[in-house]
Subunit: 332 residues, 2 copies
């Protein structure tokens, strides 16, 4: 085990969530509006009579979640401290700021803290006359039981479909229905080579030996499916693609969006090499790659490693997936 300490260029570590949110808003040239007094943003031009889509969760996964607030994606984002669910009041204020009388869809990853806080927010909002629906993203196949699965980079796929449906003024029921379908069609699995550290503690949240990797690790360092010795990239990518394809299943003739997501500290070199193999394997299986995304979309601080996500696109999902969107982290 190498002795290594986290090393990041920060100010006061307690200010990280606030300062990075300010940095994001500054980067978006007026497209984002702060929800006064809360760790939340909305987009500035939410049309009247549109269902509002709200994405949220703990900070620390940047550009997830606030980086997806923009036209065709999320209308609002509620953010917690690093790796901590936003409290109900943040969710409530973000939802109220974004609501245009047609209700709010909550999109978030399936974690107990988020589930509890978003559910409390939904109840309190209902009392105030704001209708909500919820989709908990469960794309991480590292856990067997579907209802227990975590939401990881697949959040952005589900959001893309929901955001596009809301943008064409679908009803809350319909946007929710399509988000459920998107989640049902999305699968992810990751591999980690090193730990992530929390700014507030200045410590890594787990240890991984110099010659080991962990397959299926979660984006907060949750246990994956296996620790093993380092192996060639092609071997790891092959196992991930095989597991993803077996799970849905994805079969010959299916059309997919493919995402190679940097968990934080991997080089673009490694992501491209992963994509080379993933592309080969999917093509060999007769699976059509409709679109490829490669980069830092849902991170875990400086964790080295990546996740691979596949979303199966039928004609309905494909037309929503192809719709334009414009945010800090995703532009189409």
């Amino acid at each position: 085990m190498s002795i290594r300490k986290p090393k990041k260029l920060l100010n006061d570590p307690r200010d990280v969530p606030e300062e990075q949110l300010q940095g994001l808003i500054a980067a978006c040239g007026g497209d984002l509006q702060r929800v006064d007094g809360y760790s939340a943003v909305i987009r500035r031009d939410i049309p009247d009579n549109q269902v509002a889509v709200l994405i949220g969760g703990g900070s620390g996964h940047e550009p997830m979640f606030a980086g997806y607030v923009g036209k065709g994606l999320a209308d609002a984002s509620a953010l917690g401290e690093i790796f901590t669910s936003p409290s109900p009041d943040i969710i409530i204020e973000a939802a109220k700021a974004a609501d245009r009388g047609q209700g709010v869809l909550f999109v978030y990853g399936n974690y107990s803290g988020d589930n509890m806080n978003f559910d409390i927010a939904a109840e309190l909002l209902e009392e105030e006359g704001v209708i909500t629906r919820t989709i908990r993203v469960t794309d991480d196949i590292a856990i067997d039981k579907k209802s227990d699965r975590r939401g990881v980079a697949g959040d952005m796929m589900v959001l893309k479909i929901a955001g596009a449906a809301a943008t064409r003024f679908d009803s809350l029921e319909r946007v929710h229905q399509l988000a459920v379908k998107a989640n049902d069609n999305t699968r992810s699995m990751g591999v980690a080579l090193s730990a992530c550290s929390l700014p507030q503690t200045g410590e890594f949240n787990f240890e991984l030996a110099d010659d080991e990797l962990e397959l299926g690790m979660g984006i907060h360092g949750e246990q994956g499916v296996r620790r093993q010795k380092m192996a060639p990239a092609d071997e790891i990518v092959t196992e991930i693609i095989e597991r993803l394809c077996a799970d849905l299943p994805f079969v010959s003739g299916d059309r997919v969006s493919l995402l190679i997501n940097n968990l934080g500290g991997s080089t673009v070199t490694e992501l491209l090499i992963a994509n080379r193999k993933a592309n080969q394997l999917l093509t060999e299986r007769g699976i059509i790659i409709h679109d490829t995304l490669i980069g830092s979309y849902c991170t875990s601080q400086e964790m080295s490693g990546y996740s691979i996500t596949l979303m199966k696109l039928d004609a309905e999902l494909q037309s929503l997936y192809d719709a334009p969107c414009h945010s800090f982290a995703w532009r189409k």
Copy 2:
């Protein structure tokens, strides 16, 4: 000093440049075409009678350089081994594949190996009737003497202007002239927190103590202006912005594009916190931020740290900067 070994998910390290190029081509869904037998790509749809813009240099800085091949940016890219200039034959074949009879502009960073190989290629191409012009990017202000300055992330700013000018069918002389102007208007400086490692050696190429950073370090680990103890992010960003503004100088009323470029291993968190301060400082100085780019644009493998680039936009440069572009790494 912590004992740390490089840890990346690769196959045979000698295959890294080739495999990552294949991964990039696979990600671009048919937009890129391999120059057969060479470590080079062109875009598939270069119009007749257009000046070709060729960008190139060593591999290892992904998505620089091949990630910028696409409409409105580069028409071709010639790539060397990791941190090594492409040989003249690669440059020559890439140039010939991209040339549409109007000549080829070479855009690359000012390094002796690149200078030599691109100059040899230019001479040999002239003998074959292919006219070339050259712009060596010199944006890194860590070196005092302007003509000795290295090209770093500013390459992409100069390329953006040249690519937009070529796309509107400007002549080779005019495209070259505008690229020179773009380079004259662009300044960068970086800060490194950790070393980069070369896949082919499996070793870090320098050492940096756990409690130290280096200001002004180059993208191959070249010496910067100073090593010092770790400091708050705002302090470092302030020094970089002050140095950049003093150098050109950038003054009140100037309009700029601002790039916060991940050198590889920094978290998005750190980039956003850097942007928060850079935005504050520039605004205080009366400098207008026309556009903000944040992400991995010109990396140095897993080096932790970032560079900040400013390009001053007059009306002519701004209209070229705002023109649409479409490549793996930059879409407008």
